[in-house]
């Protein structure tokens, strides 16, 4: 029997190993079967680890294991483990990965083997990101997951895929490079001579960074991570990229990979750079509130293309996450973790369903749609559920996340809270409008024309199964958010305690 640490390693190794085997030329039908296993296993392991996680000392990393890759002299080693913050994110990655994988298995994409191969690499990278204690590998796995995204957008993408792939690549590489610089800065400035987050934390707690360094490194990390998470006005890649990306890639990227930056800010920047992050808090909050929430919210209202709209709405929701981070409090950060999980699940579900809608309407143009629900009630039900989740209806996981962020934000600035809450109204407007345009009212001419040629069918099991996984998770965390909040609260509370160490430095 394997130990839990080995299970964690296995979860990451499975998709990557499967990708390697497929790359070596496995025949297609075996490849599909292998991929199915490789998508399922990490999800099962993640659930198992979740059940095994000792919630009472969630601030410490559990399931630790270290593998040396030859850069031990530089303090780089593949150190895996999960703490209270990483655990829900890991679970999110595993679940969304499984859903995206199942959706891809039967998607009938051209050159399916390559598609699955890239998706498996992406999945492995995602799992690795959140399981890495070593921040070098945290970055490394992110990039590992990012590369297949570019190729998938470029090869299997939709409209404008070339421009989108190029823009996506350059933006995200720029963001990643900046954040890499920030991480290197931490490595060098901390004096730990190690990328191991535990050692870094200890070293900084012992020595401390001066205010100037904190401000600079914090700014660097915010800029880098901000680009990756589409902070306004560095967001224009997101709608374009998601508009063009194939469904599974969009699910994994928008759902999970994008959370890399936020996760990095919470897990690394906030505890290690308390002063630096507070230095930027107001600027970040203003950008997020007025840029991400208000401006992008209105821009979302003006979208006609369903996927573009989803992309913009995702950008808008990232604004809440940034606001939560700007609060610099346990409540804010905790809300962000919850919101990340919820948003990851809901946006993945929406992208999945958007593709399913496209299969039945042959269009993403909202103006051409209407009345689809008469033919496909189940699809409509799923879509409505996903929309309701994304606009923060209680019962879905997004609600407790948003609520917590708002509560935290009030303490930071009541005015900005009003702006943020106004965003909830805006999101309700575009969310419901999209659902209504697609599904309700009489059937549109375009739809009748398409249906005359291709009689529509309701969701079949290959679409239902991944959607159900995501929806079930959304509902579970919506009804029982404590499942996430408890370990996260533990972990954050502890880092708050370490931050108290820096309290005297603020007077400097």
């Amino acid at each position: 029997m394997l130990s839990n640490a080995q299970f964690l390693q296995l979860a990451i190794a499975t998709p990557l190993g499967a990708a390697l085997i497929i790359a070596c030329g496995l025949p297609k039908r075996f490849a599909v079967k292998l991929a199915a296993v490789a998508f399922t296993l990490p999800a099962l392991i993640a659930l198992w680890l979740w059940s095994q996680f000792p919630a009472e000392n969630a601030h410490q990393y559990s399931f630790l294991s270290t593998t040396y890759t030859g850069l031990a002299d530089f303090g780089i080693s593949l150190k895996l483990g999960l703490n209270g913050i990483a655990l829900p994110m890991f679970l999110l990655a595993a679940l969304v990965g499984a859903a995206a994988g199942f959706y891809a298995l039967r998607s009938g994409a051209e050159r399916l083997k390559l598609y699955l191969l890239l998706l498996l690499i992406m999945h492995g990278g995602l799992l690795g990101v959140f399981a890495s204690v070593d921040i070098f590998f945290f970055y490394f796995f992110h990039e590992l997951a990012l590369i297949p995204t570019f190729i998938m957008v470029g090869v299997w993408g939709g409209r404008d895929r070339h421009y989108a792939a190029m823009k996506l690549t350059i933006y995200l590489t720029a963001g990643a490079m900046l954040s890499l610089l920030g991480l290197i800065a931490l490595y060098v400035k901390s004096g730990a001579n190690s990328f191991d987050l535990i050692e870094l934390t200890d070293a900084i707690a012992a020595g401390g960074l001066d205010v100037r360094a904190q401000n600079w490194v914090g700014g660097l990390l915010l800029l880098g991570f901000g680009t990756l998470v589409s902070l306004w006005p560095l967001h224009t890649w997101a709608p374009l990229g998601y508009g063009a990306a194939p469904s599974s890639a969009a699910m994994l990227h928008a759902g999970v990979l994008k959370k890399f930056g936020l996760y990095g800010l919470i897990q690394i920047a906030l505890p290690l750079l308390p002063i630096g992050m507070q230095h930027w808090a107001w600027k970040l909050a203003l950008l997020a509130a007025f840029g991400n929430v208000l401006v992008v919210g209105f821009v979302t209202l003006a979208q006609r293309d369903l996927k573009q709209m989803l992309g913009y709405s995702s950008v808008m929701h990232m604004g809440y996450c940034f606001l939560g981070i700007a609060c610099y409090s346990v409540i804010g950060s905790g809300g962000v973790v919850l919101l990340m999980v919820a948003h990851g699940l809901s946006v993945a579900l929406l992208f999945l369903l958007a593709t399913s809608v496209h299969h039945r309407t042959h269009s993403f143009d909202l103006a051409e749609m209407g009345g689809l629900a008469q033919k496909t009630p189940v699809l409509a039900a799923f879509f409505v559920a996903a929309t309701m989740a994304s606009i923060g209806l209680p019962g879905f996981a997004n609600f407790p996340g948003e609520l917590t962020v708002f509560v935290a934000l009030w303490k930071f600035s009541p005015g900005l809270t009003a702006v943020a809450v106004a965003g909830v109204v805006i999101s309700a407007v575009y969310g419901l409008r999209a659902a209504a345009r697609i599904f309700f009212g009489p059937a549109s001419e375009q739809l009748q024309r398409v249906h005359a040629r291709h009689p529509p069918t309701d969701l079949d099991w290959r679409e239902k199964l991944p959607a159900l996984i995501l929806l079930a998770a959304l509902l579970f965390f919506g009804f029982y958010p404590k499942a996430i909040s408890q370990p996260v609260d533990q972990a954050l509370g502890h880092s708050a305690a370490t931050q108290a160490l820096f309290a005297p430095m603020k007077t400097r």
Binding site: T236, L393, A408, A418, A422, V424, L432, F440, Y480, S485
Partner: protein, 632 residues
């Protein structure tokens, strides 16, 4: 754990289970779904009666979410107020379930309908039982969702889709203020160094100890929630449109229970009220009552008339709440230094209104079914003989709403008018005038629908509805009569009933006279003006007045439509334009283009000519020399 707590939990979770079962397994088995939902509703009604009569009052909660110092609990506060509301919701809800069995019998999407009803029951009971503001907000939103679901039942109709969307969004606007108010309140409670809380009992304790800071703003923000849900001006626009839903839905949600949730919530948080906020609340309610009554006069659609009358009655309740004094009363078992009379009057009217408005809506549903989905009252007429049970019960409903003595509405309306007379003469005058209008349009409706000759084929072939539909009518008619008597209401409301203002002898006489007068004036005017005709005879006589009222009715919709089409959408288009052209285009693409241009420039220096290359070497040598010479 209190021994009756599990009953309350059961009452909360049963409808959720029913909805889940229907949603997951019974999508295609409409009949089974209907029965499961109805049986659930019956069980809820039974348990709610048990809980009401058992007399045990309790509260308990569990933590739902905690980050640092912020925690949200889910809990149950079962006091007399909750018991009364739970009974109304459970019992009226059950009757409407039964009615729906008949009404929705032929609907292909019956399962979805009954599933939606179950979700609604779950959400509404959640509001009723909630013990803190966060929990109320959770179920508040869920009620909005179930309302959306049910209004959108005939989703293939564009108007239904639009109406449901409108309802949800307008409610969200109200919730915007509500949520801000909750959060503000949450932080305001910790000003004294205590832990933040929004638990009702704790809030009551805190206010008893000393007023909360910013009380006025918190109260008004919280009232925003009620404005949305109870459709007060200026957020009333969604309610008339919501009549696109099936009639039982209108009866249950948009007349008897959900729209009353705003009133209920206000009564829950009455400890947070301050006089200046109450003043505002009073006027909002009063104006809504008047405006809605005016609009009701010009309606031709039977459900629309009832919808506006609902609006008007809700205005009454809100005004009643606002009129409450800040004198000390004992609410339940706690000393409270704030409104309470308003609570009593509002809840009293809420109760009676729930009975007679449900009755009226169900009656109209019966009429609509009987007339094969004809809703224009001028195409009906003479239904008295064709649908005797419906006619009889509907008449009782009308009498109750116009406040004929010895019917339920008479007592509750009197209480409100008395309160107004005591507190604010202007409000009293307006409310009294509104009562005139109420009896006018209700009698008009009644007369045109049921009396005279039949005016359309649909009406000619009208027939009485089945047993499942008439039974609820009869039961509700009974309650519409009996609900106002203190013997009944005291039983239902317990200590809340004690808060209903009791006029002294002289006040009693004045109020009695006034209310009789207004009822008589309104009713007789209607009886006088209206004869059985295919067109609105009054409209032909007072064309100007009618068109003015119509304009008044539509002005809000026009304003909102103008906002949506001309302001919101244009801002969105403008920002989108800026985003696409300016940000993504000019700045980002421009930057990329600029770099590309420099790239072309950099590429152009590779001229291919050896001589230029040698110059580069000269440059390099000179540069190195300059460094050596210490020039840099």
């Amino acid at each position: 754990m209190h021994p009756m707590l599990n009953h309350a939990i059961l009452v909360l979770l049963l409808p959720l289970a029913s909805a889940a079962v229907i949603g997951l397994f019974l999508r295609r088995q409409g009949a089974l779904a209907a029965w499961i939902s109805t049986v659930t509703a019956g069980t809820i009604a039974a348990i709610s009666i048990i809980l009401l009569l058992h007399g045990e009052r309790f509260e308990d909660s569990v933590e739902w979410l905690r980050f640092g110092t912020f925690s949200v609990s889910l809990g149950i506060k079962f006091d007399d107020l909750a018991a009364l509301m739970l009974f109304i919701v459970g019992f009226v809800g059950f009757l409407i379930h039964v009615f729906s069995l008949g009404y929705m019998h032929d609907d292909p999407a019956r399962a979805r309908f009954f599933g939606g009803l179950s979700i609604f029951m779950f959400s509404m009971i959640g509001i009723v039982l909630a013990d803190n503001l966060f929990m109320i907000f959770i179920f508040w939103e869920l009620v909005g969702f179930s309302s959306w679901l049910l209004i959108n039942h005939y989703h293939e109709k564009q108007s239904a889709a639009d109406a449901s969307k409108k309802a949800f969004i307008v409610n969200r606007v109200g919730d915007f203020g509500f949520l801000l108010g909750i959060i503000w309140c949450y932080y305001a409670t910790s000003s004294g160094g205590a832990a933040s809380t929004v638990n009702f009992t704790e809030l009551a304790k805190l206010t008893a100890g000393g007023a909360l800071p910013h009380g006025e703003w918190i109260a008004l923000l919280l009232f925003c929630g009620a404005m949305g849900k109870s459709a007060q001006m200026p957020l009333q626009v969604w309610l008339p449109d919501a009549m696109e839903g099936p009639t039982p839905v209108s009866a249950l949600i948009h007349a008897a229970t959900m729209v009353a949730a705003g009133i209920y919530m206000l009564c829950r948080i009455n400890v947070l009220m301050v006089p200046s906020a109450l003043e505002v609340i009073t006027w909002v309610g009063t104006i809504t009552a008047l405006y809605a009554a005016l609009c009701a006069i010009v309606q031709r659609d039977i459900k629309k008339v009832l919808a506006y009358s609902t609006l008007s009655q809700l205005g009454y309740m809100v005004a009643a709440f606002g009129l409450g004094s800040t004198s000390t009363y004992a609410l339940i078992d706690l000393p409270v230094a704030t409104v309470a009379t308003g609570v009593g009057a509002a809840m009293f009217h809420l109760t009676t209104h729930a009975f007679f408005k449900a009755l009226l809506f169900l009656g109209s549903g019966s009429v609509i079914i009987g007339c094969h989905h004809e809703q224009d009252i001028f195409k009906m007429g003479g239904l008295r003989s064709k649908m005797p049970v419906t006619f009889f019960t509907f008449t009782i409903g009308v009498l109750a709403i116009i406040g004929l003595p010895f019917f339920a509405g008479f007592f509750s309306k009197d209480a409100i008018l008395y309160l107004a007379m005591e507190k604010n003469t202007a409000v009293f005058a307006i409310l009294a005038f509104t009562a005139v209008l109420t009896s006018f349009y209700m009698v008009r409706l009644w007369k045109i629908t049921f009396l005279g000759e039949t005016r359309s084929d649909a009406a000619k072939h009208a027939h009485e509805s089945g047993f499942s539909m008439t039974l609820p009518l009869v039961v509700l008619a009974l309650l519409s009569v009996a609900g106002g008597y203190s013997g009944v209401f005291d039983r239902l409301a317990g200590s809340v009933a004690g808060l209903v203002p009791e006029p002294d002898a002289s006040g009693h006489t004045i109020i009695l006279l006034v209310s009789l007068a207004v009822m008589t004036v309104g009713a007789s005017a209607a009886l006088l003006f209206y004869q059985s005709a295919a067109t609105d005879t009054l409209e032909e006589k007072f064309r100007f007045g009618f068109s003015w009222l119509t304009w008044l009715k539509e002005s809000f919709d026009r304003a909102y439509n103008y906002y949506v089409a001309k302001v919101q959408q244009r801002v969105a288009m403008l920002l989108n334009f800026l985003e696409q052209i300016f940000l993504a285009g000019l700045i980002i693409r421009g930057l990329a283009g600029f770099v590309g241009l420099i790239g072309y420039g950099a590429r152009a220096v590779y001229t291919g000519s050896l001589h230029t290359y040698v110059f580069w070497f000269l440059l390099g040598a000179a540069l190195l020399w300059a460094f050596a010479a210490g020039i840099f």
